[in-house]
Homo-oligomer: 181 residues x 2
């Protein structure tokens, strides 16, 4: 049950920290439906949990993105499919943005790698003609992430279904980066 418990802890932690970045370990344990002692059995301490969360966040995003874009017909299409898949994982993205994680070399390295891959992919999207010339790639990447967060937020607030939200996000992103109003 170790693996299942740890997964439950990590998932609960993502949800909890997305809601309240200052949450205590006790709150995370309660959210996971376990005792605080059990949390300490699986993760040596706060720092350990944070590192595990960061690495899992990166891995989950990688996996979801690869899975979703397996049979994309273009980089532009891959972005659309990826956005759809990521809408459910925005709590992980939020965690990575919120928590200062530079002090763990492995996390920093993986984070940079993922970010570079996304930037490279966006460059390909540009080559496909989906991005206006005056828009920097860095802006396109940040907007992409912002749309994922916004879609997630819509769902969280009960203002849209995941499908609706990611469709809106894609529509906004595609039109917005194409640039002709």
């Amino acid at each position: 049950m170790t693996d299942k418990t740890e997964a439950a802890i990590l998932n609960a932690a993502f949800a909890t920290y997305a809601e309240k970045p200052t949450a205590t370990l006790a709150e995370v344990a309660t959210a996971a439906g376990i005792g605080r002692a059990t949390l300490h059995r699986h993760f040596k301490g706060r720092e350990d949990l944070m590192t595990a969360l960061a690495l899992k966040a990166i891995k989950d995003i990688d996996t979801a993105f690869e899975e979703a874009t397996r049979d994309a017909e273009s980089y532009t299409d891959a972005m659309r499919l990826g956005l759809d898949a990521m809408t459910a994982l925005a709590d992980r993205q939020t965690f990575l943005e919120t928590e200062p994680l530079d002090h763990v070399p492995e996390v920093a390295r993986e984070y940079d790698r993922q970010r570079k891959e996304l930037t490279d992919a966006m460059e390909e999207v540009r080559k496909e003609g989906s991005i206006a010339a005056n828009i920097p790639t860095a802006w396109a990447v940040k907007t992409y992430e912002a749309m994922i967060y916004t879609a997630w937020s819509m769902v969280k607030d009960g203002e849209a279904t995941p499908k609706q939200a990611s469709a809106l996000a894609w529509q906004t992103l595609e039109s917005g980066l194409a640039g002709d109003a």
Copy 2:
């Protein structure tokens, strides 16, 4: 010097919490360039500081928005001008989103009021024909806020000047909500 010191504390706090939501009062004090004791002289405690920050955030945003949109020719134009002004205040917006503030009635009330005003204004923008029919107003509002945050983030990361960033934000928003790619 009391007023100036308090302003310094609040501004430093916005910057600090935007960077690290779990920052301690000691870190805030250091960022403000004062001793921890002095912080306690101006704000009774953590809760007191948080409340002051929330109220100031709301007020700063109100003021900046009103100031910037004073001679807007339309609601759509007001949104553009407001976005420009808000780019520098995204740390306040971030604070309001990050910190759970429902438990202070006055803050909750002001927050709801401001949010409603923004939603109402966005409805007017819709009437001016700037928003595609299939896009909910709630989405338009969230996207607006997301673009402000994104512009701020670009500036913070040194990838654009404030002017460039808010121009990109407006271009993306206008084209994105108009909806025709």
